[in-house]
């Protein structure tokens, strides 16, 4: 409860000063972290002492496998997307750019557009990438853990583990997953080069795939010191191409990011919040939609 309140306070903090103050405070080692470290180091010493001289190889491997102490204590990243339905004109540019960049076909789109309407009959367009749920049903049901959460919140696929059982397709509430029913061989991508060039290898027949938030751009960009969401090279193709700037991308845990500011200041909705999936895609509702 209190944690939630804090989060809300953080998100809705009126000035940036408050945010930086918060950030400065989190830089310090918290009491819990301090105690954990103390216990951890104590246990290591006790182990080392009891096992005598050259460390037992088991202990060595345990120590080696321990995650390194956080060198960048700022925050844990969590990538989110904001899609402004009041701006979206349903041009499908994001759909095509995704198809070209991630090398998909018309019947296995990672990012789709549908037309819906408000209670007053006004038509609006919804585009839907993978929502990268924090409680993702696909991750929960996958028998082999081929789809999993990364530390930065992305729900990703390990194509080498997937056995193609398609339980994730049955479980995903948003129909965001597609299966490779056929071997696509070298058939040309119908959206390239007009909408972009394939940037990732084509998936093999028999595995499930889905939107990755252009993980390859994020990772390569970060390695170059670019900021996903701000630098186009490190930003998902669908966000870059949007002619009306209806899509935003960034780190929700960075209070200075555009997405964090939008989410803190604008009412947003997420798809099927009642299911408790806690998606990472936030929609700014169109006028007339509660």
């Amino acid at each position: 409860m209190t944690e939630n309140n804090q989060e809300i306070q953080e998100q809705t903090a009126p000035s940036e000063k408050a945010n930086t103050a918060k950030k400065a405070r989190t830089n310090l080692v918290s009491r819990r972290e301090f105690v954990t470290m103390l216990i951890g180091s104590g246990m290591t010493m006790v182990l080392a002492a009891t096992l005598a001289e050259p460390l037992n190889p088991i202990v060595q491997s345990v120590l080696a496998a321990r995650p390194p102490l956080p060198t960048d204590p700022s925050h844990k990243r969590h990538w989110v997307m904001v899609i402004d339905l009041s701006k979206c004109i349903g041009c499908d540019y994001c759909v095509y750019a995704c198809e070209a960049t991630n090398d998909t076909t018309d019947d296995m789109r990672w990012n789709i557009r549908i037309d819906d309407e408000t209670e007053t009959g006004e038509v609006f367009h919804v585009t839907r990438p993978c929502l990268h749920c924090r409680n993702a049903p696909c991750v929960e049901v996958c028998p082999v853990g081929a789809t999993y959460h990364r530390d930065d919140g992305l729900v990703v696929m390990d194509y080498d583990k997937c056995i193609g059982c398609r339980y994730c397709e049955a479980a995903c509430p948003y129909g965001a997953r597609s299966f490779n029913w056929k071997d696509r061989g070298d058939t040309p991508n119908t959206r390239a080069p007009e909408w972009g060039r394939p940037e990732v290898p084509r998936r093999q027949r028999g595995v499930v795939e889905k939107c990755t938030f252009c993980i390859h751009r994020i990772d390569a960009g970060l390695a170059k010191g670019l900021m996903p969401g701000a630098d186009p090279e490190a930003t998902p193709a669908c966000v870059n191409i949007c002619p009306v700037r209806a899509r935003f991308f960034g780190d929700i845990n960075n209070p200075n990011s555009e997405v964090a500011r939008i989410i803190a200041t604008t009412p947003t909705l997420r798809l099927r919040e009642d299911l408790g999936t806690d998606p990472s895609v936030y929609y700014i509702p169109p006028r007339g939609l509660a």
């Binding site: 019947d107 819906d116 996958c142 028998p143 339980y167 397709e169």
Partner: protein, 429 residues
């Protein structure tokens, strides 16, 4: 039975024809299977809206129909009802056929059959499907352990001391094996229902009663298949394969299992559709009843003919004496179970997902009918199981207490007298 009046030479010819027919079925399945393996699942009618179809239905049906093995083994070894040893062996054999058929169907269904072992090395313990996969592997091993003594006893293997020793040892540890088997079975038979029941996004599936409904129906239909096959063998061979009191015991048990299933099924329905209302669930049911034969098949196929009629036949002692009625009843239970698995699997996919925030009905209903190649693979799997059963009955001692020579088993009415007990046998082993 007409075959009884045939001359031995005619009977051999007929059985040879039957075996050739089954091999032909397997051939059809093999050709279709190779077609699927080389060209991918794109040749089926499955798609991203209906990613599961006929093969998954076969998979979950055959696992349920193999449930006679754990039910009757538990009766013998866990609950000490030794007389059921007369039918438990056949049940174990049918169980192996069910589980191997399920594995065949699954192997065809997954996109990467070459990675079938992945669940054993990459664990996601939170996945109900992982738990099922591991349990099915373990339980199939249990079934093999239960079958091994039968194989040793029925084949020239019994001449070897080592084999006899293994058989004897297995026989001694069988109570533990059966207990473990019962535990694993109860878990994964229920988890198969949970596979559907836990998916919150599909209102037709999302239900806490699904796991229990699955195991109750399996506990009814598994022994029903064993009884049906046993009666077919009895009719064809003219021998009584299982003492009548044992058969009646199993039949009564199936009847009660049907009642338990009906009880939960009706309450599950009443609680979700009559006494309470969830708009999404109501809409789903409406979509199903207006667009598919779901309502008809549910009430008539699953409830009335699939459970109620068999329960009446099996529990009413005057009806249960008619072998032909019992066979019809068992067949109804089996068909009712398959229809239930069909309805469960497809209903959840037919109703489209609804995630759009507006008021328009954006997503249209999904349709699916198995492609020819899917049917062909199905025919092959059924051919395999039937052939294996035919050969098993011929070469394995599946019915240790079968009467020695042909009795007059009249097809329609078994004499109403109480069965004269067969000479006292030592069931204890």
């Amino acid at each position: 039975m007409s075959t009884l009046s045939l001359k031995p030479s005619q009977r051999t010819a007929l059985s040879r024809l039957w075996i050739i027919f089954l091999i032909a079925l397997m051939g059809v399945g093999l050709v279709a299977g190779i077609h699927v393996l080389t060209n991918g699942l794109g040749v089926t009618n499955l798609n991203n809206h209906t990613p599961w179809g006929l093969w998954i239905i076969i998979d979950i049906s055959s696992i349920a129909l193999g449930a006679g093995a754990f039910t009757l083994s538990a009766a013998v070894y866990v609950f000490g009802l030794k007389q059921y040893a007369a039918i438990a062996r056949a049940a174990v054999f049918v169980g192996i056929l069910g589980y191997s058929s399920a594995m065949l169907a699954l192997l065809m269904d997954i996109g990467r059959p070459d990675r079938f072992y992945h669940p054993l090395i990459y664990w996601n313990v939170h996945s109900v499907l992982w738990e099922i996969t591991v349990a099915v592997v373990f339980y199939t091993s249990v079934l093999v352990l239960e079958l091994l003594p039968i194989i040793i006893e029925s084949t020239p293997l019994k001449r070897y001391r080592l084999a006899r020793g293994i058989g004897h040892l297995l026989h001694r540890v069988m109570p533990i094996v059966a207990l473990v088997g019962m535990g694993i079975s109860m878990i994964h038979q229920s988890s198969l229902g949970a596979t559907y029941g836990i998916l919150t996004a599909r209102p037709v599936w999302y239900s806490p009663s699904a796991p229990v409904l699955f195991i109750l129906s399996a506990v009814a239909a598994g022994p029903a298949l064993t009884v049906f096959l046993t009666l077919v063998v009895s009719q064809l061979s003219g021998r009584q394969m299982v003492p009548r009191d044992v058969l009646y015991g199993v039949i009564k048990f199936i009847g009660f299992a049907c009642l338990a299933y009906l009880y939960l099924k009706l309450w599950s329905w009443a609680a979700s559709f009559y006494y309470s209302r969830v708009p999404e669930r109501d809409l789903s049911l409406e979509l199903l009843t207006t667009n598919t034969p779901y309502g008809f098949t549910f009430w008539w196929g699953e409830v009335f003919f699939g459970a109620l009629v068999p329960a009446v036949i099996f529990l009413w002692s005057r009806l249960r004496r008619h072998t032909s009625l019992v066979m019809i009843g068992a067949a109804l239970v089996i068909l009712g179970l398959v229809m239930n698995r069909w309805n469960v699997t497809l209903s959840g996919f037919v109703v489209p997902l609804d995630w759009s925030p507006g008021v328009r009905e954006v997503f249209s209903i999904n349709t699916y009918a198995p492609a020819l190649v899917e049917w062909a693979v199905a025919v092959g799997i059924i051919g395999y199981a039937t052939l294996a059963f035919t050969l098993g009955v011929r070469y394995l001692k599946l019915y240790p207490y079968a009467s020695e020579q042909a009795e007059s088993v009249s097809q329609d009415k078994v004499e109403p007298k109480i069965q004269v007990p067969s000479p006292v046998r030592d069931y204890g082993g």
